[in-house]
Amino acid sequence: FPVAPEEEDEGKTLQLVESYLQNFYDLQRDNQPHLRNKGENPIVEKLKEMQEFFGLEVTGKPDLDTLEMMKKPRCGIPDIGQ
């Protein structure tokens, strides 16, 4: 079945968030998800770190302000752990 537009948007959003956090906030490219501790979600933690760095509301969620910041043209150097 064709993917519903909302789902497609969600997929794109997740892709944007993951690649941004991998590029600039040292989110590990998680090849072994089953090793992840229960309850710990690295993306939420890294999102909070990014929101804190940019002075955004720290929600741990890819809200509108956070996505807008991620779409801004920027320097290719990571913001942390350089």
């Binding site: 590029n23 600039f24 760095f53 940019f54 002075g55 910041m69 801004k72 043209p73 920027r74 320097c75 290719g76 150097i77 913001d79 752990g81 350089q82």
Partner: protein, 168 residues
């Protein structure tokens, strides 16, 4: 301001730079001027000096590059990542790479080469990204008329904490 992890810095105050290639989107003289002005942003407030060299290895090698350019940090085409630079050190250390697929300009259209270069040179000298939205070392691009540009205090404090104040 934030220092790069490990506090790398150049052991000499007299540094060299070399322009390896030019973007066809700007006149060469305008690229030279943008680079010279971007370097003076930092030399004006520190004891650092920069000498242009043309045919030998320089401390800071400046080049325009496409996508995968063999430094493990491929560019992503128009917008997104505009440029990157390497912390002080031998070899690729200090070098600045600019994404050739960006619309480089000397004014407010596209991406102003001077502004992006001045930011990247901050990395070349040992600074990391600042979380001060008004700082030159803030990660996202924002345009300022080069004729009116003044290095913000956060950046002055950062670079002088590494190299000291200008002796001029």
């Amino acid at each position: 301001y934030v220092f790069t992890t490990g506090n790398p810095k150049w052991k000499r105050n007299h540094l060299t730079y070399r322009i390896l290639n030019y973007t066809p989107k700007m006149r060469q003289a305008d690229v030279d001027e943008a680079i010279r002005k971007a370097l003076s942003v930092w030399s004006n407030v520190t004891p650092l000096t920069f000498q242009k060299v043309d045919n030998k290895e320089a401390d800071i090698m400046i080049s325009f590059a496409y996508r995968d350019h063999r430094d493990n940090s491929p560019f992503d085409g128009p917008n997104g990542q505009l440029a990157h630079a390497f912390q002080p050190g031998e070899g690729i250390g200090g070098d600045v790479h600019l994404d050739e697929e960006e619309a480089w300009t000397k004014d407010g259209r596209g991406y102003n080469l001077f502004i992006v270069l001045a930011h990247e040179l901050g990395h070349s000298l040992g600074l990391s990204h600042s979380s001060d939205p008004g700082a030159l070392m803030y990660p996202t691009y924002s345009y300022t008329d080069p004729k009116e540009f003044l290095l913000p205090q956060d950046d002055i404090d950062g670079i002088q904490a590494i190299y000291g104040q200008s002796t001029a």
